[in-house]
Symmetry: C2
Subunit: 309 residues, 2 copies
């Protein structure tokens, strides 16, 4: 019966995502972590996320550089070199065939031997996966802008406890903030520190236009690659940028607010604590930076093509 010369197109098992675990590429649905990995049972790890847009990686080497700096700060020695990890990241995307992807790399402290409790003795483990691009604010909502809430009962974990420049999964404060936002009919929380200064939200940095200056917090935040890109773009556009302490009160007199993340880009904010920011539509500065951000994704100085063959 089935004896045609026509080749049969098999579905790609990696179409929903591709992971690299213990030296093997596996479909994302089958990718897993040993339950005793201290990345899970101690959240002892660091990670990074790069994106692929229209078949091109965006600033991959900048992500890798930050990732390796983070490993060093945690005294975590990745089991492979930067070049090897880079190849694996590209390969997960290539195998998945995804033209728009969210590509995560994780190094954990690893699995203790029986009775071991000294993290210096564990063998660090590497995990990589590519899944379809993730939007913190979906594109249809970005046209209007999202609804943001400044948490009142939750402070960002301070730097003297956990270094926010080392990307980590200590999201307890963020998750608590998300529930606080939901309870106020908002979608996205921004967390202040204990001194009432703006920090960041779950997976993003914050920018605010106040008195024609574009502010973003200097301390207590991840030094985001999208944040860096937005600052570069703003300076190129002749916008005055101030990276400094940003009191929460300043947010309330902003004419524009936007959020930046690899997972969603430059995302306009429509309302803050239920009240419109500016006229409630994405402002001119936000729009210009956002447009330019996406243009850079095809610029060879910022991005490179994935070989899908």
């Amino acid at each position: 019966m089935a004896n045609s010369a026509q080749p049969i197109a098999l579905p790609n098992p990696f179409a929903a995502g591709c992971a690299w675990i213990d030296g093997k590429y596996v479909p994302i649905g089958e990718a897993s972590v040993p339950i005793l990995d201290t990345g899970f049972v101690r959240s002892d790890l660091t990670y990074d996320v790069a994106s692929v847009w229209e078949g091109r990686f965006f600033r991959l080497d900048d992500h890798l550089e930050r990732f390796f700096t983070g490993c060093e700060r945690l005294r975590l020695i990745p089991p492979l070199t930067k070049a090897e990890i880079r190849s694996i990241m590209v390969e997960t995307v290539s195998r998945s065939g995804l033209r728009e992807a969210y590509v995560e790399v994780i190094v954990t402290r690893g699995v203790p031997g029986p009775g071991q409790r000294d993290p210096r003795l564990y063998q660090p483990r590497l995990y990589v996966y590519a899944i379809p691009y993730v939007w913190i604010v979906k594109p249809e909502l970005q046209a209007r802008g999202t609804d943001v809430f400044v948490t009142q009962n939750t402070h960002r974990i301070p730097s003297s406890s956990v270094d926010p420049t080392v990307k980590n999964f200590h999201w307890g404060d963020f998750i608590r903030g998300m529930f606080e936002a939901y309870d106020r009919d908002a979608w996205v929380p921004i967390l202040p520190d204990q001194n009432g200064m703006v920090t960041e939200g779950p997976g993003f940095n914050v920018f605010a236009m106040v008195d024609d200056v574009l502010y973003t917090p200097v301390r207590g935040v991840l030094e985001g690659i999208t944040r860096r890109t937005a600052i570069e773009i703003a300076k190129d556009l002749g916008i005055k940028v101030a990276v400094g302490e940003v009191p929460v009160e300043d947010l309330y007199r902003s004419t524009e607010i936007f959020l930046t993340s690899t997972a969603g880009g430059v995302m306009p904010v429509a309302t803050l604590d239920g009240k419109p920011v500016g006229n409630g539509n994405p402002g001119p500065v936000t729009t210009k930076i956002r447009d330019r951000y996406w243009e850079l994704h095809s610029d060879p100085n910022y991005s490179h093509e994935v070989d899908y063959t």
Copy 2:
């Protein structure tokens, strides 16, 4: 050849530990967590650990009660009832055959569907495992006491960021503290809060005898079951107990310090920041509480037998 009436003793595949994952009991070495579980990639979970000593569970129902309270505080609905989870915990121990075990139960927020970002929509996941009993301070070192260091560059994550009474894996501060301790030739860190008050260390509560009163911190700590047991024992023994704020300076004038944890019990401290505590040997109060703690493990009011058949 092999045709004897003698039954062949097969090795127990669960001897190194037994886990319950997705409704199945599996050897610990094969137990794993989906890589996209937000318990791993957000540390969005709570957990508890009970112990088995000489074939008896210790205060299992107290652990379960605390665990369910923690789930509620995180708005995390366990996928099974308390009675069902209890049975699974007992069964992992029974299958492992372990007479001394460390039994962990975890509920995570679960795996988001494709593109999902709202944690209210995920299906929480349950994990249970029993492994050989874990010692934060090994018994041979307990005879002498361990070496403790009060961290100078690391504060415990404050309650306004992450609730310490909900047992969590936000161990970034603890791990940083452990490396700080290693750098000072100590084994175990104690973390102060931002106001110079004693909190806790990686997996344990802290007690100190100062002016004949037994102090333990009231705030910014897990309400440990071993802590509760030690307080009950001390009161029974007629020792004055104060659960309150404990300034770090008070540790330096303690005549005895001990640590409490399900993973190791009541653990004497020999040195603090390199100097002997008291005369440098486990003190009389520590020893009395420690002895009574282990006696209670055979008391039917505190423990119950595991059926290994």
